[in-house]
Amino acid sequence: MLAADPLFFRGLSLAVVVIVIVKVLIVFVVGLVATMFMVWFERKIISGMQNRVGPNKAGPWGLLQTLADGIKLFFKEDLVPERADSFVFKLAPFLAFVPAFLVWCVIPLGGDFSNGRGGLVTIAGHRTLVQLADPPIGILLVLMLSSIAVYGIMLAGWSSGSKYPLLGSVRASAQMVSYEAALGLSIGSVLLVAGTLSTNGIVIAQNTISRWHIIATGVVPFVIFVIAGTAELNRPPFDLVEAESELVSGFNTEYSSLRFALFYLAEFMNTVTMSAIIVTLFLGGPQPITIGDTTLNLHLGPFSGTVWFLLKLFIFLYMYVWLRATLPRLRYDQLMNLGWKVLIPIALGWFMLLAALRVARDEGWNRVVVGVVCAVVLAFSYLLLTAAVRTSSKNREKEGAMF
């Protein structure tokens, strides 16, 4: 595979190859360690919030708990139900795990973005990004991978030949595709402002805090993205897929041993990568906090980008755990209503509004007129949407829905 790389056709120094290999290894290790850490982090924080001790036996503060669990799963018998479609059953964990793993390669993990350096750092005389690959369609790649992950869950449930997994997987697929629409549309707003699909380009565009996309796109796409992202991860309060009280363990009920571990790893890896995507898209990735001309300097040299990235990442990792500890699970009709009747119209409307504002600015249209028109459209759509949602829930009651 290395020989097929056009990189190797023209004269190429060993250093570049070594840098690529080192980058692959680093991202690989970071990905796995971050996932294992996240499992521990979630259990520890949740137990703190519930007045329990949590894992504390394996290693200092129970840090090695995940490793211990993993080792235990190695020694467990691997069962394939007699009714299962054996090939698909064995394929599904790969379809869940590999996309989750692959997202890591387009996320900027650090780098020097000061003075227009664009995230390039110099290692042994070669300038390189602290990011495995920077394809021009980085964000599309992320969306594509999250679509493939749906297959993993869908096929896992279907191929088990069992009732609970089947129910869990159709639920999961419907939920994930519903929220993926809202997710894609809120990314659209970011692209309007950034003007590029490359993840590195998106980070470069956010060089001061007022140009962080959370502010530049007006908070709404950020909120939609976080909600839709949580639903996409099947995490509480959107964890209807594995609602233990109804579906046992959802799509992975029939899985055991290491195949189960792969699903479990993928789930937590997705949580970490989703947080990393939020940071990249909306919070400037590895960019330091810059207000006007003053930059908050951490004095860590080449590592400051990575440290900023991790600090921002932690906020979201904590948020996901906090959400899980705090919110009760949604009902399925509430979930679908939120996705289709609230998030998608708002995301679409906000996207068009933002586009109109930016075109108006570029073309030099009359600001007052544009402002008034936008305000009127916004107010009208808001009233229309709330009226529609209210009517539909009233109709629901009239028909005597059970809950």
Partner: protein
Amino acid sequence: MSQLLRSYLTVAMFGAIGVLLAALLLAISALVRPNRPNADKSKVYESGVDPIGDGWSQSQIRYYVFALLFVIFDVETVFIFPWATQLERYAGFGLLEMGIFVFVLLLGLVYAWRKGVLRWV
């Protein structure tokens, strides 16, 4: 061209590493884990009682309708993304075009809503 392909190849190589890692883990596990199958173990789980009927039961058509609706919005995303990155180039005309496009799609959503397919009972 080669620069473009290079990043995709890196992605593909990383993907291959992911597949290999998963396969390696499964292979190691296959060496060390016990394997004593019996008829009861290979039954599917149904809360501890013997499974009744076929596992592949019918599921509601509603899930399918949502998947269809999703296709519409996903295709929309495909059209919206390139335009969003090239907003300046198409300016007012592009905005109008996209406005019409989005309006038509919203009509589709409103139609689905009015038809009651978005209602989950």
